[in-house]
Point group: C2
Chain length 444, copies 2
């Protein structure tokens, strides 16, 4: 999408990949010292060796120190860190570990609607019961504890609820949870004995005034031993998002808290089946959690690049919401964080009808087809899919229909990333505006 | 283990990681042109973008051409290629796709004993039925069709056999299958309607005179349409072995043949849950299947490095077998291929007894504990574990006991890699020799 990689990260990766470059005077000393340190921790001093399955030890130590700094000094044990193949891998592994039982005793896992479709897909694959709780669209997609309660009570009738997944900042909703909300969620999890899974891959992507990222780990420990010694938590981070945007490297980690020691042994076994996470991704994660320091030569450039990327994202978040809200029939919550807007679209009844009779669902784009809620036995397309297909045909713009993420029945949305360059995004938004007006006219 | 990476591969990886280096005159033109081509195929021209879930298209095309060259021109469709996170990922994914049913209808999967423990672990995780067929130790660990038949007939009484896994060249056995044997296996799979999974990650690691690697794909197609249009096959390759030894990058691919189109759609969905394989691993795979050509500047160095690595491995394979066979009480088959010897060790009855009363199984090394056959309800250690623990304590040498791979009851083995440098390997072998004699004396 044109977001530039952080120079320092790529220098370290090049040095690690081809250590002859350590003799090259063109590379700054701090990049070289990071590369040397990583290579020393690798088997045979090479990215090409398998690492331990949990991840290279010094990198887990660096992650632990990063978490401690982030959380104002709350301790983190490197032994609770598992490096992963992006966050996806760790999330699926943790779900695998949690899911068991048959019939009424089958594990239920609470996920938000709308959600990032990895969750519903993984639960389907594992044969777990998906317990949907709806985020409050009218309240900036915030999480309401009463809705959690409702969803849980209902689920208890047919499965054994065991885990609660949170995405904060949210994909696709872009909401950022308040500290109060996180405390409420933790209390709820404690009372109901639920394992908390907190997906925090967008932890640096917070744009809206008054919003701040709070990690579940930090809030949990600040609530005192009554909670911090009891509630089981796994939180996830990734090199794919934030200001890094290094999705292709598949770097990430999970921190587990209060995991039963025997379960932890099983977790370690489970991850060892796939041998180890990609070592270049581990190396990248290491520099993400251990970036240039003020006294180092690469510091200024690093800060400049990071600040620019995050500032541009904030601008685009704002611009997206503003322009979309100018369109009659589109209503967009503030994009408080993450990288997406998820506006609600009003579709004329004639369009809804036409969608339903439209012959079979054409292959659209894999991720949407994969996760589409097309299992409802209706013929034809979901109306927002119909809308997105028309948009694609008429403008070449590809949005993902809300039905790929889940939405309240009778409401329609699309998800749009804020990642394209400002100039491109402006054009895209203008085209969507025009398309929506045209579409509404056509079907009214 | 000291095996040097191929310079060209690492140059391309460095160039891809930090494209500023494309301006650097120190890098050869062929490395630069490979890097440019790979980057052009990446989203945004960067390794940092997610690729399509099946893997970058031009890399799948390069893999297909590599397979065609390897197999004497038998066509390969890039659409049948799935890039993966090492071979492990593809193997587990394929098993996941094949396994279903409950009770008598539960999927059974045939695997060799001894086997690479990924298979038994994945089958256990999936709740599939493991159908063990024993390789013939007295015949250089070759595969005997009668034993396949025996194992299958027995399994049909309690599960629904669906797939047959082959490792060729073998881990841990080092055997290389003859063309005749592969034909027999294919005929057997055709008759019994079994899905063939052929693990060919050691395809370049063939050392013994008279042995040659034959891919299942090639033999299948040379057997004519009766087989080539019918037998379902998935074969696996990886950047981790051969002369590359780049395990940490987690590169690999799978080729599927005769897969039902609807099943293929499911496979594509399944892999899309984890978004994409690591892009640096994909890039590495690309240069592995598309290495320097005779008219290119890096050709000579590449050939020299590859030849040296493979020649040294061949020497060490030979040396290992020779030295081990000098030890009374150790009997080692020729290491025809792959990277391991799996000698049989004679253990005195007193040692076997002592092992069984030895208190609980100490944590040894993860992979062996994970895959050890310690579920037989016996107290104490398996005798070969006891042996390997003693060896570790006395010499610092870490071998994996045969029980980690499976072996006929009452026989004992260890697996030893041939990867250490010649000098080191010689010392290790001498120490094992000494230890074995000492151990035998002590317990006689
Ligand atoms: C909320 C959320 N979690 C997890 C992921 C997975 O990211 P990765 O596996 O690349 O770390 C994503 C990717 O979009 C995401 O949006
Ligand atoms: C027979 C065999 N198959 C598959 C693998 C997995 O290798 P990777 O996942 O690194 O490609 C190994 C690794 O040792 C192996 O020996």
């Amino acid at each position: 999408m044109g977001q530039k990689p952080i120079t320092f990260f790529r220098q370290v990766l090049a040095l690690c990949s081809y250590p002859d470059l350590l003799e090259d005077s063109k590379f700054p000393e701090d990049a070289k010292s990071r590369a040397r340190r990583i290579l020393q921790a690798c088997g045979g001093g090479s990215l090409g060796a398998y690492s331990t399955s949990q991840g290279i030890e010094i990198i887990r130590q660096d992650v632990a120190r990063y978490i401690e700094r982030r959380d104002g000094g709350i301790p983190c044990d490197p032994d609770n860190i598992y490096l992963s193949i992006g966050a996806s891998d760790a999330i699926v592994t943790m779900l695998k570990l949690l899911v068991s039982g048959e019939g009424m005793s089958r594990t239920g896992v609470m996920i938000s609607i709308p959600q990032y479709p990895l969750y519903s897909a993984a639960l389907a694959e594992l044969g777990a019961v998906q317990i949907s709780y709806y985020l409050e669209e009218d309240n900036c997609w915030s999480l309401d504890i009463n809705e959690l309660r409702r969803a849980l009570q209902e689920a208890k009738k047919h499965c054994s609820p065991r885990a609660l997944c949170i995405i904060n900042p949210g994909n696709p909703t872009g909401q950022v949870q308040s500290r109060q909300c996180i405390e409420d969620v933790i209390r709820f999890a404690a009372t109901e004995n639920l394992f908390l899974m907190s997906d925090e891959v967008y932890q640096d992507n917070v744009y809206a005034d008054g919003c701040k990222f709070h990690s579940f780990k930090k809030v949990l420990f600040e609530m005192g031993p009554e909670y911090s010694e009891k509630v089981e938590l796994a939180s996830f981070h990734s090199t794919s998002k934030c200001y890094m945007g290094e999705c292709g490297f598949r770097g990430g980690y999970m921190e587990v808290v209060n995991l039963d020691p025997e379960v932890k042994v099983q977790l370690t076994k489970l991850v060892s089946v796939r041998l180890c996470p990609p070592v270049p991704g581990q190396a990248l994660l290491d520099v993400v959690v251990n970036p240039p320091q003020p006294d180092e030569p690469s510091y200024d450039t690093f800060i400049k690049e990071r600040t620019e990327t995050l500032a541009t994202l904030a601008e685009k978040a704002n611009m997206t919401q503003e322009i979309l809200n100018q369109v009659p029939g589109i209503k967009c919550n503030p994009v408080q964080g993450a990288m997406y807007s998820f506006p609600r679209i009003h579709l004329p009844p004639k369009a809804i009808l036409e969608a339903k009779v439209e012959s079979a669902c054409t292959q659209f784009n894999l991720i949407s087809v994969l996760f589409m809620d097309i299992s409802k036995g209706e013929k034809g397309q979901s109306p927002d899919m119909f809308y997105c297909m028309k948009l694609l045909e008429e403008t070449g713009i590809c949005l993902v229909p809300g039905s790929g993420f889940g939405q309240r029945d009778g409401t329609y949305h699309f998800r749009m990333t804020i990642l394209p360059s400002k100039e491109k995004l402006k054009i895209v938004l203008a085209k969507i505006k025009e398309f929506h007006q045209h579409f509404t006219d056509q079907y009214s």
